[in-house]
């Protein structure tokens, strides 16, 4: 019973996601998936090979984490559901959010390239 309900629920979730989430947020989600997948690969690799160039591992892994966090921030600001009058983000316009995201990524990658060795 539980098994079928989980399958039902996930099916419903997917349908709901397809129908209600706007297209640009779906693109962001795809990008997030890719970033999380890269981070996961590196984590498995470090467990297999060892931590020897530790700075390089930290740089590679943290660049994924950083990009993920920044992009989640961007997604939250662009989500129409968050644009309620009660939400203080409603006044932030999307072009400003995107520019901020781009600038933060620039800073992040300068740090990453410096740290990678």
């Amino acid at each position: 019973m539980i098994g079928t309900s989980i399958v039902e629920a996930s099916k419903q979730l997917l349908v709901h996601y397809k129908n209600s989430v706007p297209y640009h947020l779906k693109v962001i989600d795809a990008f997030l998936l890719y970033v999380a997948f890269t981070a996961a690969i590196q984590f498995v690799y470090v467990l297999l090979v060892g931590t020897f160039p530790f700075n390089a591992f930290l740089a590679g892994f943290f660049s994924c984490i950083g990009v993920f966090v920044l992009t989640v921030g961007l997604r939250m600001q662009l989500n129409p559901q968050n644009q309620s009058p009660a939400n203080r983000w409603q006044r932030i316009n999307p072009s400003r959010a995107f520019t901020e995201w781009l600038f933060c990524n620039l800073v992040l990658h300068i740090a990453v390239i410096n740290f990678i060795g």
Binding site: V35, V49, P53, A56, G60, F61, I113
Partner: protein, 437 residues
């Protein structure tokens, strides 16, 4: 400048003059002039070699071990005064002898039958115990039948069967018997610096002659030491003998080995052989040109370095330093503990150059190169040189490590991912049109 040159020339003259590379002044102190006469062969060979002997008896008043400003007038002491030592020799007590050795002077002491107590105290402070003043080393099997009557027929003219195997102290080129007539001594256990030079056969023992043995002799068998030597850590040498007769003129005949033996061990004690020094320390990184002045005092961790040193031995016959050839000299690289210990190999036998190479450990700090070489009969080598070892500079680390390529790929994929995503976000079809908002 002229003074400097003059001083240098003078120094060179002094260096050429001396037999022992220290100066050749010897104070000979005898109980009475007769004792000097009976050992005149030994003393005349010393004088022929260039030693300056100052012969005094304990009754003489006009001598002193030190000058007014406290410096020693002599660099060697030859004491043939077992009866007067410490009793009539004011200014030359046991403590003075110990101070003299501490300062690097060589001491030869011959005890004999009828010695007085200060003599045995002196022997004790060097680590050996003399038997009673009236005792003798006896041996009823290995005694010299030719010489026994000369000493009273008590089987006390024993043949010394045990001779030190240190080839620097004594080289037996003649293989003639050595006759000994005198007191036996025992060396205290666990003494590192003192070692026996001459000892008796397994049937020898030390006791009062012509007496029935009622208690255990203090030494017997091969522990019956007749002569012992001490090589101290500062290079000074001490020779202790239980008999004056062994080097007396009467025993210096062609049939006996006494003459050769006495001259050999006396010349060793006076520093003609086995005095070592190190010269010309040089170390450098592998690949850098080797010059005498290229000794860097700063290395990086994991540097591969080469180390060279010349070890020389003083040759009293040729009056110059000659290369020392050994195969067991070790170099240590020490920071509190030795991190590296390598045996040096002799690469140039004409100079006595020793070589090794090693990789500096991956540990920063202040290290020292150190050679500590203690061998029986040789003066010890204790030298060290401090070097510091620094970590990698920021630009000396390895780059583009094979193992790290996945991380590089991930980081750059993030970079390009952000650029492509940004492009898609701005210009992609169906995206939120942020330009018009």
């Amino acid at each position: 400048m002229r003074w400097l040159t003059l001083t240098l020339v003078l120094l060179c003259c002094i260096a050429v003059d001396s037999i022992s590379f220290i100066d050749p002044k010897v104070l000979v102190l005898v109980d009475d002039k007769q004792l000097y006469q009976s050992h005149s062969f030994l003393f005349s060979t010393l004088e022929e070699k260039g030693y300056q002997l100052t012969v005094k008896t304990a009754q003489d008043l006009n001598w002193s071990l030190t000058s007014e400003d406290g410096e020693y007038r002599f660099s060697h002491l030859f004491l043939l005064c077992p009866k007067t030592f410490g009793i009539m020799t004011t200014g030359l007590e046991r403590a003075d002898i110990l101070d003299f050795v501490e300062a690097g002077g060589n001491v030869i002491f011959f005890a004999n039958t009828g010695y007085e107590e200060p003599t045995s105290k002196l022997f004790e402070s060097f680590g050996c115990e003399l038997d009673e003043p009236q005792s003798l080393v006896l041996d009823h099997i290995y005694y010299s039948s030719d010489w026994d009557s000369h000493f009273g027929g008590k089987h006390s003219a024993v043949l010394a069967t045990g001779i030190t195997n240190s080839s620097v102290v004594y080289v037996d080129s003649e293989n003639k018997p050595i006759v000994y007539h005198g007191i036996g001594m025992g060396i205290f256990p666990k003494r590192e610096l003192i070692f026996p030079i001459l000892w008796g056969s397994s049937s020898s023992y030390s006791y009062f002659p012509n007496t029935r043995i009622t208690d255990l002799p203090i030494v017997s068998g091969e522990e019956t030491v007749m002569m012992a030597a001490l090589q101290s850590r500062n290079g000074a040498r001490v020779l202790l003998s239980g008999s004056t007769d062994i080097c007396a003129n009467s025993l210096q005949t062609t049939f006996l080995g006494n003459k050769h033996f006495c001259s050999q061990i006396v010349s060793w004690t006076l520093g003609e052989r086995g005095m070592l020094r190190t010269q010309n320390w040089r170390h450098h990184k592998v690949g850098q040109l080797l010059t005498n002045h290229s000794s860097y005092h700063m290395y990086r961790v994991e540097d591969e370095i080469e180390f060279l040193v010349d070890i020389e031995e003083w040759n009293g016959i040729e009056h110059r330093w000659k290369p020392f050839l050994g195969n067991d000299v070790q170099l240590e690289f020490i920071m509190l503990d030795p991190y590296i210990r390598k045996t040096l190999t002799c690469v140039d036998t004409t100079k006595g150059s020793y070589y090794t190479r090693f990789r500096i450990p991956d540990r920063i700090g202040v290290y020292k190169f150190s050679i500590e070489y203690y061998r029986r009969g040789y003066s010890p080598i204790q030298v060290s040189q401090v070097v510091s070892v620094r970590p990698f500079r920021h630009d000396e680390y390895e780059r583009f490590i094979l193992q790290a390529y996945p991380y590089y790929a991930a980081a750059f994929s993030m970079l390009f991912g952000v650029i492509i995503f940004g492009f898609v976000f701005l210009h992609g079809k169906g995206m939120l049109s942020i330009k018009h908002k």
